[in-house]
Symmetry: C2
Subunit: 348 residues, 2 copies
């Protein structure tokens, strides 16, 4: 019997791990021991270890009805890689813990791993360990990513100074709008399964939601051009929440200018369909995995020609508060709405 | 309003993380940045990084009906610490990802964190990061543990050689029997809630199940006495499964002698109540978090006086197979039964 023809129960836990990891080739010389022992062994000689972890749960962070397994695996990895880039670190290894319900087939789990491995290949990262088990209910994926940092190059949330420029990469809000589109089509499908999903013409927003790409190019650009951001964070919970994190950690205020916040044209069109102000999707949407950073005004000359970076505001004294300024000069206080999975909880 | 009086929804995700982590003091100088940024930053100058991760799920790995939250937090940490000890590494940091359902109160989550923090204190480990979110169903805890290793001291599963002695620490099977006891009392309680649980006289087996202690003492003993195991693994899935891991990775066979396998007296008594052969609990039970290791015969003199280490067999050529030898000389082939959470899955 070929291994591919076996069921998960026939493979067993260790057989499944072996099956999923048999073709892994380690890429980084620092990964001394990967899958197959009690722990992975990594050599970070001369570098600092930067480590982050995220857990994704079915029904909370993803919906298997419209999330292909391969995309899910890819996104679970890149959301962690994005956190390492947000420290100005270079990703090197991931450890994957996976729990899935009985209803999944081996083929589905293979597809999930195909996405995980594709992300590892695209970002030169080693899959260095992990475990799998069953879940009584939904699926859970927990990924830990490790990367190397240099003391003088690491960028924290806490380094922003008054008058620093606030910059953002790419464009914002599209991932959130992609999610709204998928939710709408899901609802229509559930009401009438004979209606085909209307997804044509929305390639960009769907790609932003289903296959986000963290900004390896920007981290490389910083290195090549000797750019030293004073503070940095990745945008997973929406611009508003993230700039408030930087300001809170840096003990500063900020001014953002609405007209400078980059929104893609396709996202704007879709926002109009949903009666959403595009800037609100950018502020509160989340999952864009772009970088938000601050730099001293003296460094502006180094970034001004990079088309993927937009300056959207500046850092102020804390007493000035945290505001979005609209094109007609109205000051709107920023609020950390973001992706709060707790919002509906009452435990009284 | 005091923070303690707030509900989880009033605190929000970031408020909850702040509340749970506000009293954390970093203990290890190598933990440069802990909770509060996109990632933790660790200095492993001169050491290798050893990293492991485990996810525990409600209903699969624990049952909240008889697992106190504080114990659950403690056990989730020490099971990972045990994996680092199994590499002969020194634990330094953990990263905790947590998902819980709406029904949990803030007090319950505080208790879980109290257990996590107690384990961190007892094993001199820093809680260096993590995330929390809600779950639609049960609770999930994923912990990544990082520790430091020295190249010439790390012990893999693959180093066992023919004629090496097979040794085990402490005693085996008690954690499994503790679980059987809790399951029996749960069943009685569900049938008749007025019957009080009968747990008196079973302190040891219950402690082994609810508050296991990984063998920091043995790792220290190895260091002080310059003991170099040739292979090592921790016993989380039962002796039988673990020795087969060592033999498979080392490409050897093994002989275990049933009468030398250490079982605690209380565990033996309870096994009799359940009509379980104590040695079967030791072989297949799991969750003992003892260390199983091999050493060359020349090193025996260094360990023979340690009362916490028992020699239970030896490594043979692969062709000789993997056997348990009973006191009457019967050879029983070892099988990897262990804790296979996949055993009931069919996805055909």
């Amino acid at each position: 019997m070929n291994e591919e023809d076996k069921t998960i129960s026939e493979l067993g836990e260790f057989g499944l791990i072996r099956h999923l990891t048999q073709d892994i080739r380690l890429k980084n010389p620092g990964t001394l021991k990967g899958v197959g022992d009690d722990a992975a062994v990594l050599d970070y000689t001369g570098k600092l270890v930067v480590v982050t972890s995220d857990m994704l749960l079915e029904g909370i962070h993803f919906n298997l009805m419209y999330t292909p397994m391969k995309h899910l695996g890819y996104k679970a990895v890149v959301s962690n890689i994005s956190d390492l880039y947000a420290m100005n670190a270079i990703p090197k290894q991931i450890i994957v813990s996976l729990a899935f319900s009985k209803k999944l087939t081996l083929k589905q789990i293979e597809n999930l791993y195909a996405g995980i491995k594709l992300a590892c290949d695209n970002f030169n990262v080693d899959l260095a360990g992990g475990d799998t088990s069953t879940s009584l209910t939904g699926m859970a994926i927990s990924i830990t990513a490790l990367g190397e940092g240099e003391k003088e190059r690491l960028v924290y949330r806490s380094g922003a100074k008054k008058n620093d420029l606030i910059c953002v990469t790419g464009d914002l809000g599209a991932a959130y709008l992609g999610l709204q589109l998928l939710e709408r089509e899901k609802k229509i499908f559930l009401e009438n399964p004979e209606i085909e999903p209307q997804l044509e013409g929305y390639d960009y927003v769907l790609q932003r939601q289903l296959k986000p790409e963290p900004r390896a190019d920007i981290i490389e650009f910083f290195r090549e051009n000797n750019v030293s951001p004073s503070a940095m964070i990745d945008i997973s919970d929406g611009l508003s929440s993230e700039i408030l994190h930087i300001c809170n950690e840096s003990k500063t205020g900020c001014k953002l200018f609405a007209e400078h916040i980059p929104v893609n044209q396709e996202a704007e069109n879709l926002a109009a369909e949903f009666n959403i102000t595009p800037i609100v999707a950018a502020l509160n949407g989340g999952e864009d995995y772009e970088l938000l950073f601050t730099i001293s005004p003296g460094e502006f000359v180094k970034i001004k020609d990079n088309k993927n970076i937009k300056t959207i505001g500046h850092i102020t004294d804390r007493e000035n508060g945290h505001h979005l300024i609209t094109s007609d000069g109205t000051f709107i206080p920023l609020q950390a709405q973001g992706w709060d999975t707790f919002e509906n909880i009452t435990d009284k």
